[in-house]
Amino acid sequence: MKLFEFLGYYNYWVFAVLLMIGFYAVIAKANLIKKLIGLSLFQSAVFLMYISMDKVEGGTAPIIKPDAVDQLYSNPLPQVLILTAIVVGVSTLALGLAIVVRIKERYGTIEENEILDAD
């Protein structure tokens, strides 16, 4: 693969790397908050993928002016989709944190191994 091609996809490389960092944190960390941070990163990476794909070279914001003809603009649909996905991500994170608070109340710890030992 030519270097140019490799760099040309750099948004997608960042997506893949972020995704894997997040995934690693979810799997490897025992602290529940750190797991949630990883999960949040994992989801954000996907947002980046959607946003990258809607970019049209030379395109502007998708606002149609009445007098402009042949105006080139980016695809608005993935942005709208990701707005929804961000809301989903935020609610998941909020619920996850709420569960962690409850776990702390009932177990007195948020370390996964200590919770497993407690039962």
Binding site: F23, V26, L32, K35, L39, F42, Q43, V46, M49, Y50, M53, P78, L81, T84, A85, V88, S91, T92, L95, G96, I99, V100, R102, I103, R106, Y107, E112, I115, L116, D119
Partner: protein
């Protein structure tokens, strides 16, 4: 405009709108009554839809008057209709039975919120089934999952919290994988409408993003569907959830993910040159392993709810084994088994919930002699257990028989698979019998401390018992007269297996 055209959207919008209203109903019992009424209305809508489907219709609905593929289309065919019946039926029956058990397990001031979450879960699940838009499926999937996490974590058992945290992590990863897959398909096809996607994917189906997308969608949905070996979240979540929530989720939760999985595999990815290799031959060993391993684990499990949860993992294996045969009869068996397993497992968990009203400890050993104090519940457990095993005369038999017939069509290889199905059914006999033996055992001197009045018939006739009896009767009814689910299952296999271009 014909009223029937609005049925698909009513199915989603009624529980969705009722949920915030329920939160406002503070006096005791009101929230429960309103939720149950909503669930029954939803069930009535599903029945009306099923009637239209049986009459040969396919229902379309354009959200907001925007036509597909630009707008979001709701689309209900036979496959959606049977899953809708499962969801709304399970919701109606479990809610009508829920009062006593929920009063025991959830504090009164939190009940309206709890019921609202329940309605949101229903709205999410039916939404996934009626919509024909890939991104819409994601949104509804997350609505139902988030509501489901709340329901599972709502009970008094503190072990539910780590269990639900694990489920939240795995469920979110599954949904995100699905989202990545949909994004990649959108990149290549420029559409989110399922039918449109199926048409546009033809010709580019060997491109790498499409193949990668197929893998992401498959793994994401398999996580949600608890396909072995991705089932690790399920046993603990089901075991420590409030009992009535387990009834509802065990009857329909994972099946909706299976529905979306099959919908994607058969409408969009079917044109792949190596679809048979990539899907069927990948899925079949996992399904067979799931059936065997989960059944074996269930046999050695000491906790009643966890045993039934592992049995659920095995049953998902049966459902996907039928689908992996890629034949008309295999698919019919698969759809039929979704319906019949929902009946059998729903009844079993209802019986568990009834036991739980009198026995604090649900380990199998501590239920010794329970048949004396709770004869009707124990009898219902036996019948539902027979249906789970697949004894002739019960609903479970119809789908297992259909599955075995479908396997036999595949030729010599089939004998091994039939062997596995028969052996795992025998294992099911073993683990159900172990419970039945304990229930009907004559109690020895060391009466468990958790049991009250062991030798006195103390079973109260309440809605829970009535719902249990009704579900058990349905197990027998659909075992003797399987026409309704059978016709819907056959119609859905016709719809999914026709190659769409």
């Amino acid at each position: 405009m014909d009223f029937a055209q609005h049925l698909p959207v009513l199915q989603v919008i009624i529980p969705l709108l009722a949920a915030p209203l329920i939160v406002l109903l503070q006096p005791r019992g009101f929230a429960w009554a309103a939720t149950t009424a909503t669930a029954f209305f939803s069930f009535a809508v599903s029945i009306a839809i099923a009637a239209r489907i049986l009459a040969g219709d396919i229902l379309h609905y354009e959200m907001g008057g925007w036509f597909a593929p630009i707008g979001i289309e709701l689309r209900v065919d036979a496959f959606s209709a049977i899953v809708l019946l499962i969801i709304s039926g399970a919701a109606a029956i479990s809610l009508v039975a829920a009062r006593t058990s929920i009063n025991q397990q959830i504090e009164h001031h939190r009940q309206p919120l709890f019921y609202a979450a329940w309605l949101l879960a229903i709205a999410g699940l039916v939404g996934m089934v009626v919509t024909a838009d890939a991104f819409n499926i994601f949104v509804f999937m997350e609505i139902s999952s988030l509501a489901g996490y709340i329901l599972i974590a709502g009970g008094p058992d503190r072990r539910a919290l780590p269990a639900v945290f694990k489920y939240l992590i795995i469920g979110t990863i599954g949904a995100t994988f699905y989202l990545i897959g949909v994004g990649m398909i959108y990149m290549m096809t420029g559409t989110l409408n399922l039918d449109d996607m199926a048409q546009r994917v033809v010709g580019i189906e060997d491109q790498r993003p499409i193949l990668v997308a197929a893998a992401f969608v498959f793994i994401g949905l398999a996580l949600k569907a608890a396909l072995f070996p991705l089932h690790v979240w399920l046993p603990n979540a089901y075991t420590h959830a409030p009992h009535m929530v387990t009834v509802f989720l065990a009857a329909c939760g994972t099946k909706v993910a299976v529905y979306v999985l099959l919908r994607f595999q058969f409408t969009i990815f079917q044109s792949f040159a190596e679809h048979l290799l990539q899907f069927a031959l990948f899925l079949m060993p996992l399904a067979l392993l799931g059936i065997t391993v989960a059944s074996l684990v269930a046999m050695f499990e000491g906790h009643l709810k966890r045993m039934l949860a592992f049995s659920s993992v095995a049953q998902i294996g049966y459902i996907l084994l039928g689908a992996s045969l890629m034949s008309d009869s295999g698919f019919t068996a698969s759809t039929l088994h979704m319906f019949n397993h929902a009946l059998a497992k729903g009844a079993l968990f209802l019986a568990v919930a009834k036991f739980a009203t009198q026995y604090a400890d649900l380990r199998i050993d501590s239920l010794e002699g329970a048949a004396r104090s709770m004869p009707l519940t124990s009898f219902a457990f036996v019948i539902a257990g027979l249906s789970l095993i697949g004894v002739p005369g019960t609903a479970g038999f119809i789908s297992k028989w259909q599955l075995i017939m479908a396997i036999m069509e595949t030729g010599n290889m089939g004998f091994i698979m039939v062997g596995i199905v028969v052996i795992s059914s025998l294992i099911a006999v073993a683990y159900i019998w172990r419970v039945v033996e304990t229930l009907y055992a004559i109690p020895t001197d060391n009466i468990p401390a958790s049991a009250t009045n062991v030798n006195v018939k103390s079973e109260k006739m309440d809605l829970l018992l009535v719902a249990l009896m009704f579900t058990v009767a349905m197990n027998i009814y659909f075992g003797l007269v399987p026409a309704l689910p059978f016709t819907l299952a056959e119609l859905s296999s016709q719809i999914l297996l026709q190659v769409k271009f």
